[in-house]
């Protein structure tokens, strides 16, 4: 194909998720297709003195059941989610692990998190400041650091190449996937696990979010007139990315191709997004993929259901897509899995790869009456069959940090 200009091509050979809709890609995808919602009353911490009492908590995660390694069983929940999603991606990819000899150095493990082991820190500070304990648990530091998920996963599979976490709030996973894609394309490595994990639902973090006044007490309804904020969630989304010839040579399943990646910063405001930053990132991803906006069949929107994001994103899509904005199918799957923060882009990338594989657009649920300023096709309430060749995944984080991925079908 001419659009590759002879450069190395990067494909997805495995994927894994932990989400409020369930653990495992098939369970997650079945729930998305049905339009189920994983946002419920909080179970894992007391909410009596909070006015935000809902969240997207992972309902079916017992670390002893899901994980084999003792190190991971003792790790923070965010690392456990990463370990579980990575395991699913590795098994799906049929990669022989642990990696051996020089192959180990040709693999990357870029797994980020918005805030790492925040719940471990909250627990430790409670012990120190409230219960006057003399010391914290000896594993506190290793559990809390934002690079522990990537380190744990590299140890699991003997990945000895570039291994670290990236941090960009709600764009973290998308940046991790984009970065790994570029590393493979430029020849630094031949494959890599990429994505993010988040498990920061706790009392203190909810207090902090409450103080920002951006959460909804009732539900996450992207693009709807009644939307009144986002809903916090947790989970992990991880892809196995691989150079095309490398994947073919070992007979790996090829689920999709990573076609393009764009990233920008608004350099303007910590919370108010700009159309320029978002639209330029989208255009960069299209240019990188050598595609026109009209080639895109599906956009998995950032769609947080805050007043400002959904209007800004709609305007950015219109700027980039022009007339094609009225033909593209858009949805915010956050309406079902909640805002998984750093992990969001990874979970949403999995939704995009499944949309391409199955020719199905997952819906935006709770979209009864659209905001008049949000007037595109957001696939309201019910998903639909539609051939998806190329799809885009948007992540626009606090601080104005934007990352956009474009995926395409497995190369013929």
């Amino acid at each position: 194909m001419t659009h590759t200009n002879g450069r190395r091509r990067v494909v997805v050979t495995g994927q894994g998720v932990v989400t409020p809709l369930g653990t495992g890609v098939e369970k997650f995808w079945a729930a998305l297709k049905k339009g189920e919602c994983g946002i419920r009353q909080v179970q894992s911490f007391p909410v009596e003195d909070l006015y935000i009492t809902i969240a997207g908590e992972v309902p079916d995660f017992d670390p002893r059941e899901r994980l084999k390694s003792k190190q991971l069983i003792l790790a923070d929940k965010y690392s456990q989610y990463a370990g579980c999603a990575a395991q699913e991606a590795v098994i799906m990819s049929k990669l022989e692990v642990p990696l051996k000899d020089s192959k180990a150095y040709r693999a990357a493990c870029i797994i980020g998190s918005g805030v790492g082991g925040l719940t471990t820190l909250e627990f430790s500070y409670k012990m120190l400041f409230k219960e006057n304990k003399r010391a914290t648990h000896p594993l506190t530091l290793l559990k809390a650091i934002g690079s522990s998920a990537s380190a744990h996963v590299s140890i699991e599979y003997s990945i000895k190449g570039p291994t670290f976490g990236v941090v960009s709030a709600c764009s973290t996973a998308t940046h991790a996937i984009g970065l790994t894609y570029r590393m493979i394309r430029e020849g630094l490595v031949d494959l890599g696990l990429a994505g993010a994990a988040e498990a920061s639902l706790n009392w203190g973090a909810t207090r902090a979010w409450q103080a920002m006044r951006v959460l909804s007490p009732d539900g996450l309804w992207p693009f709807a007139k009644r939307r009144n904020g986002t809903v916090l969630a947790e989970g992990a989304g991880i892809l196995m990315l691989e150079e095309l010839e490398h994947a073919k040579a070992r007979g790996a399943p090829i689920l999709a191709e990573v076609m393009g990646y764009g990233m920008t910063a608004d350099a303007a405001d910590m919370v108010n997004p700009s159309i320029d930053g978002a639209s330029t990132a989208m255009q960069m991803a299209l240019d990188d993929a050598s595609l026109a906006a009209s080639d895109i069949d599906y956009v998995n929107a950032h769609g947080t259901a805050t007043a400002v994001n959904d209007i800004n994103e709609t305007r950015a899509i219109k700027r980039v897509f022009g007339n094609a904005a009225n033909k593209v199918s858009i949805s915010s799957t956050k309406s079902m899995h909640g805002h998984c923060l750093g992990a969001g882009g990874g979970i949403e990338a999995v939704a995009v790869v499944k949309a391409i594989g199955e020719g199905f657009i997952p819906p935006t649920v709770g979209l009864d009456e659209p905001d008049p300023e949000c007037d595109l096709d957001y696939t309201p309430n019910v998903g639909k069959s539609r051939g998806v060749s190329y799809a885009m995944s948007n992540s626009f984080a606090f601080g104005g940090l934007n990352a956009v991925l474009v995926f395409g079908p497995p190369p013929a």
Partner: protein, 89 residues
């Protein structure tokens, strides 16, 4: 100007780009160049100063926050409600 009003104006001034500007009860908040995040900080500061909780969601237009005077009235209302429920309990 009473104590509640002067304390609130003091809090607003801390969050203004130009604290030397004249602020009266009639001044619209939009004149103070206060943005959404500033408003969250101001609400936090008011809650802390008066020991109250102010229901406020940045995603919704809040009429009670139109002018400095309307903020003062809202805060006084909440202080009265908090005292009443405290007395009842």
């Amino acid at each position: 100007m009473d104590d509640v009003a002067s304390k609130i104006i003091e809090i607003l001034r801390k969050n203004m780009k130009d604290p030397t500007k004249t602020v009266t009860l009639e001044t619209p908040l939009s004149d103070l160049e206060i943005e959404s995040l500033d408003l969250a900080v101001i609400v936090f500061d008011i809650e802390d100063t008066f020991g109250i909780e102010i229901p406020y969601n940045a995603n919704e237009e809040v009429e009670a926050f139109a002018t400095v005077g309307s903020v003062v009235d809202r805060v006084k209302g909440i202080i009265a409600e908090t005292k009443a429920s405290g007395a009842a309990a």
